[in-house]
């Protein structure tokens, strides 16, 4: 079944025809060309596809695109404003929290979602918030440090 829907992604409205069974991840990547949400498992397990959905982190592979109409979707592309990196992005660079980079967009969105809800999380709370974002490279240490740093200085 085909649905014509309006998707609000990063503050822009896109009118797209989507199939009932296609996920938000598929539509963002294949139809809108927004490729920062990554496809790592399409099974809700890796978190590489994490986007903010009405401000909260969700796996875009676990959402049908058709139901995203009327919701606000944010991806990493929306973080930098007026040519300035978001504090989380800066902190990820400063802390060398990035290696291969494949988990990075999802990590950043999870981190943003966390800080919006809990601006001063403890280390345990950060780890808990990141449990759904797998990273095979960094051992998470620097990612946690980077988020903590932003929280401590906000």
């Amino acid at each position: 079944m085909l649905h014509e829907i309006t998707l609000n992604v990063n503050g822009e409205l896109h009118i797209v025809p989507v199939k009932s069974h296609h996920t938000l991840l598929t539509v963002l990547r294949e139809q809108l060309g927004i490729t920062s949400p990554k496809r790592g498992c399409e099974n809700g397990e890796c978190g590489a596809c994490t986007v903010l959905y009405d401000g909260k982190p969700v796996n875009s592979c676990m959402v049908l695109a058709v139901e995203a109409e009327g919701h606000v979707i944010e991806t990493v592309e929306s973080l930098a404003k007026n040519g300035e990196l978001h504090p989380l992005q800066k902190s990820f660079i400063e802390h060398n929290a990035v290696q291969c980079g494949f988990c990075t967009p999802g990590m950043l969105m999870s981190a943003k979602g966390l800080l919006a809800e809990n601006p001063h999380p403890t280390e345990e709370e950060i780890k808990h918030a990141l449990a759904g974002n797998l990273c095979r490279c960094t051992g998470y240490v620097r990612i946690i440090d980077a988020i903590k740093d932003v929280a401590d200085h906000s």
Partner: protein, 295 residues
């Protein structure tokens, strides 16, 4: 992924019309965190899904008066949790923490943050996986499940809702509206514990819900187990033992009774033998934990 159609009903009538199309396999859709993986694996092949999240009342978490169906005969208000309430909404709800702490704790253990922002209580119940984290909590809370079909609403006690792995008392075309948790006296204590292979984002090898409810002269206990039988189960034998007291020897007897109730199987996550051992350990921990809180 196998294709299916998607409907978003305006109201219940439309929802039931869509759910009961003859000759078609149509299922309700909530957070889709079970449906998408299941369809991907071709274990479920629906012709269509009906997105029920937007139906009135389905996301409410509130106190309600006793009703003709659910929560019947209660003098105090019941806690109503809509079927489409998300795990994170449940875990963070002050109402749930206050009136059904064990459920808030269980919801907090489901999957990971992104999943908890999507996964619903109704979906956890609809899937009825033996490992579903909230299910044993619903059993010990003795929640009522409010169910609606095309023609009628019914109330099914949670204790009678889960019939087997992925089997519930729902009739085709029925949806869960929500659950109602009967009021519990002040001083009720609850604990949900589970063990899994990894700390982060894993399924339970054993899940355990325990409640101690102040009763005349002491406490009434309820114990529920997940992932160790085809359905979540209650352990009345252990509960009866604990009703006599909670000194060390009695607790040990209750633990043995809990163990005797578990009928786990071997699977890739754990052997039955280890599950049995963990039933013992988790039960002891949960009981000790609660006993330590008893004033």
């Amino acid at each position: 992924m196998h294709p299916f159609d998607y409907y978003k009903p305006k109201d219940f009538d439309e929802a039931f019309a869509m759910l009961t199309q003859p000759g078609k396999k149509v299922i309700p859709l909530a957070g889709s965190t079970d449906i998408i993986p299941m369809v991907r694996d071709e274990r479920w092949l629906p012709d269509a899904v009906v997105d029920i999240k937007g139906l009135p009342g389905l996301r409410d978490i509130k106190l309600v008066d006793s009703g003709p169906l659910c929560c019947a005969g209660q003098t105090a208000q019941c806690l109503y949790i809509g079927a489409a309430a998300r795990m994170n909404e449940i875990a963070h709800s002050e109402l749930v923490q206050q009136y059904a702490s064990v459920l808030a704790q269980a919801a907090q253990e489901v999957g990971h943050e992104q999943v908890r922002n999507r996964a619903t209580l109704g979906g956890n119940m609809g899937t009825a996986s033996p490992a579903g984290d909230t299910l044993s909590a619903l059993l010990v809370l003795e929640a009522d499940v409010l169910v609606k079909g095309k023609d009628e609403e019914r109330c099914i006690p949670a204790l009678k809702f889960f019939l087997g792995p992925r089997k519930t008392a729902l009739q085709p075309g029925e949806i869960i509206l929500g659950v109602q948790v009967p009021p519990l006296p002040e001083g009720t204590l609850g604990r949900y514990l589970r063990i899994s292979r990894r700390k982060g984002a894993d399924l339970a090898i054993v899940g355990l819900s325990v409640m101690a409810i102040p009763a005349e002269g002491g406490y009434q206990w309820r114990i529920g187990l997940g992932a160790v039988a085809p359905t979540p189960i209650r352990v009345p034998e252990a509960e009866t033992i604990l009703a006599t007291g909670h000194d060390e020897a009695t607790v040990e007897k209750a633990i043995q009774a809990t163990l005797a109730a578990a009928r786990p199987i071997d699977d890739i996550r754990a052997t039955a033998a280890y599950r049995r051992e963990m039933v013992v350990q988790l039960t002891r921990r949960a009981l000790q934990d609660i006993i330590a809180q008893i004033p």
